[in-house]
Amino acid sequence: MTAESRIAAHNAGRSSLLALALATAAAGIMYGHLHDVLQTMDWRHVLAPFQVDDIDAAILYYSTLPRFVMSLLAGAALGLAGAIFQHTLRNPLAEPTTLGASAGAQLALTAATLYAPALLGAGREWIALGGAAGATVLVVAIALGRTLAPLALILAGLVVSLLCGTIVSILTLFHWQYLSSLFVWGSGSLIQHDWGKVTYLLPRLAVVVVAVGFLARPLAVMTLDDAGARNLGLATRTIRLLALTAAVALAAFVVSAVGVIAFIGLAAPALARLSGARRVHEQLIWAPLIGAMLLWLTDQLVQSLWTTAVVPTGTATAFLGAPLLLWLLPRLRETATPNTSDDAPQPRTARPHLIGGIALALLALVLWTALDVGQGPHGWTVSNWDVLQPLLPWRGPRVMAALSAGAMLAVAGTLIQRMTGNPMASPEVLGISSGASLGVVLTIFAVVAPDKTLVFAAATAGSLATLFAMLMLGHRNAFSPERLLLAGIALGTIFSALVAVLVATGDPRVAVVLPWVSGSTDRVTSTDAWAALAIAAGGLLLVLPTARWLAILPLGDSTARSVGINLRISRLLLLVLAATLTAAATLIIGALSFVGLIAPHMARMCGLQQPLAQLVGAAVLGAVILIVADWLGRNLMFPYQIPAGLLATVVGGPYFILLMRRKAA
């Protein structure tokens, strides 16, 4: 036995131990459930199920067993898909939803339910698959010009997911009474009432698994970088496309059968890697096995904790998986991901002052429109002063809040992107707005009649707790960007899972939560608005002295250290600044995320490359985006209002995609 194969055998041993431990726990709980039934049951009924008239046997045969099989199948498929994604995209954060597949599927189903219910008769699975494939093709098309560079793909996937999710949110806002079914579906319920879904899923998964078997060897060679693999005569783009297609198909089949099940695709490959399965073929074997055991265990836990189906399994995986991931983070090996975000350098503008002037003029124009032009009971009006005066107490605070929140999120986004050197980063990714939102949502549902002070207190508590957790985590591993992002995403997943559960209940309180979560400005008072403006201005002033750090940090840790920057202190300060700005923005107008992602990019793409110019430019652009979104939201469907955060995404998303395409050309 060579040393290498001994290590491989040792690793496989650890992975199998982990899988065995998970399986034992799951089997134990399941035996506990079944014990009573098995004692009293007539076994002939199980062996001849078609004459079953004993209801206990029927439940065992048509509900318990298919649910067990489904948890194994779905878990394995998601684990495999996650392993392929993470390997192909060279990003440990990649998961089956990264390429927009599940968001696309959900959008297709929502739209079909509302506008073409006849199509549902033909099979919801096919609609879901169509949506998943459509979104994925769009993502690939966006990133195609850039030889499918991993980061470009993930970024495109993120934007398309966000867009699909936003459109679904808008539809939900106006139809939440009808769509509760979609959200149960969307939150991954494993309940079965016959073998139909198992027999649907099994053959489809089998075909993909065979295909993956053929891809395993070329994928292993691609562990080298692109150039190295090309030298070995591999058509890297074809192989990457084939592998991604297989992974998307796996995810789409699972989504179409049981809905979105969060985190298994992220956690299973990570657990496999941590337990020693590092090489490609080990990953392809152990990630699905661990995924299957993980979902089985989660599903059994869900069934023993709640006798009713108030928490769908797909949501519970997020609640269980996220803390697990946070706990595992310090043990994750640092993977030196080459930073390819700036492989196509932007033209640096020679005239930042000209651009600044144009931006300010734009801001003034937008401000005037937002305050003075709008729909009333008698149609569109451009108000003169007399008409405007009684409207100003309503419009003024909204516009001011939109301006401040846009600026704060943009500055926070610039800080985070510069600090982490990751173009996917945004305030949302830091988890602060998720934490604040979590506090608010829990309060609205825990207290029968929550008042505003209580809601605000809950939001503050939520963001502070998150900030504290992030600081603790960051402290332990010198603020490694990768880990912070992973932690933030984990929090975001918990939050969106919680919202999905709440929407699924069809509870009328959802009508209050949804507008808040999606960034509505209509609850802002003038005091709130002035406070927001003050914090935004103060934040911007405090950020200006950090310009040197922001110029050097993206160049990498060693560069920063070599010019004498204390990594720990500089990152800590930037983190606190970004978190405070995000918390303030979240407290005022809910959990927006797209502005913080998009405004810094837009500033950079306008040629504002210097940290200072980018910060100010992003702040102005962020303010403009949110003011326009708020104005559109007030007027597009008058008297119904669309929250500014949702519209900012719908307006900003396609523009961002366009910029990405142009950058590629």
Partner: protein, 296 residues
């Protein structure tokens, strides 16, 4: 004749038997805005036309009875009404429920706000709906209309209770399908449970509710716990697909389905006030009498 047609005819019959409150809309001095469907239907049943109401097309589609009188302005979503428009309307009173309490400070800038508690996750929802009705009457300066609506609903329910006597003593599961693998089972705290109590019927499901409006989301296996119970299936809102569930093997083997002890009702909005209670009571009584002719 398809099942849907039958259900629609049943709904039409029930609506026809509904003795709609025939108070002619006498001029009410106060301009009121109703921000929830439960208060909207109460106002309409009292013969009061509000100046504005929330989500009128949605109300027409999901609640429907009593219909929205012409000339009521739509002020947008129940959870996010258009404040600018509300300020322009300048009403004398705004009606909300506790789950909208977060809106209160902003609404109070437009007009006085009255908060009416109907759903609290437990307790007697019917009693609270009666109190809310009386309170609306007082606030609107016509307490006799509130009292009359309460009396009318009480009378209807007593009449239906007498008609049901002797038809079935079985406990009932009240279920509404919302997707292809789970149902909402109504329990304590729901308006439907309160109606069951007043009709002298028993709920087969005694679990504590997970939802504010008194229900829990469960799989079909929970419908088998009481093998003697009958099953009342309330139709889902028209868009929700549920055929997958009624075609499933487990559905066909449920005792209540297998032994043909289940009835279907047309869709009913589960979060209403007295008019919804009466509507539901009529539908349920008609269906039970038709299906359980003898004490079975």
């Amino acid at each position: 004749m398809t099942r849907r047609t039958v259900l629609r005819m049943m709904a039409a019959c029930a609506a026809a038997t509904l003795p709609v409150c025939r108070v002619l809309a006498a001029p009410i001095g106060r301009r009121v805005v109703s921000l929830t469907w439960a208060t909207s239907e109460t106002l309409f049943a009292m013969g009061i036309r509000p100046a504005a109401a929330a989500e009128i097309p949605g109300y027409q589609r999901l609640v429907g009875q009593p219909p929205t009188p012409p000339g009521v302005i739509d002020v947008g979503l129940q959870g996010a009404p258009n404040l600018e428009l509300l300020a322009t309307i300048a009403p004398d009173l705004i009606l909300i429920q506790p789950w909208q309490a977060g809106l209160r400070p902003q609404l109070e800038r437009c007009a006085p706000v009255a908060m009416l508690t109907i759903y609290a996750g437990s307790g007697d929802t019917y009693e609270r709906a009666c109190n809310a009705t009386r309170r609306i009457g007082q606030l609107m300066g016509c307490p006799e209309r509130g009292a009359r609506l309460v009396q009318h609903t009480d009378d209807s329910l007593s009449l239906l209770r007498r008609r049901l006597a002797g038809h079935t003593a079985r406990p009932l599961y009240l279920a509404q399908m919302i997707d292809d693998n789970s149902v909402t089972l109504f329990s304590r705290g729901s308006l439907f449970q309160a109606v069951l109590d007043r009709l002298g019927l028993r709920n087969a499901w005694s679990g504590a509710p997970d939802l504010l409006w008194g229900g829990s989301r469960v799989g079909l296996d929970k419908l088998a716990a009481d093998p003697d119970a009958a099953l009342v299936l309330i139709a889902s809102p028209e868009l929700a697909p549920h055929e997958t569930l009624t075609r499933s093997a487990l559905w066909r083997r449920l005792p209540a389905v297998h032994q043909r002890r289940f009835v279907e009702l047309p869709a009913v909005w589960a979060f209403g006030a007295l008019p919804t209670a009466e509507h539901f009571a009529h539908l349920l009584t008609a269906a039970l009498i038709r299906n359980f002719t003898h004490d079975g």
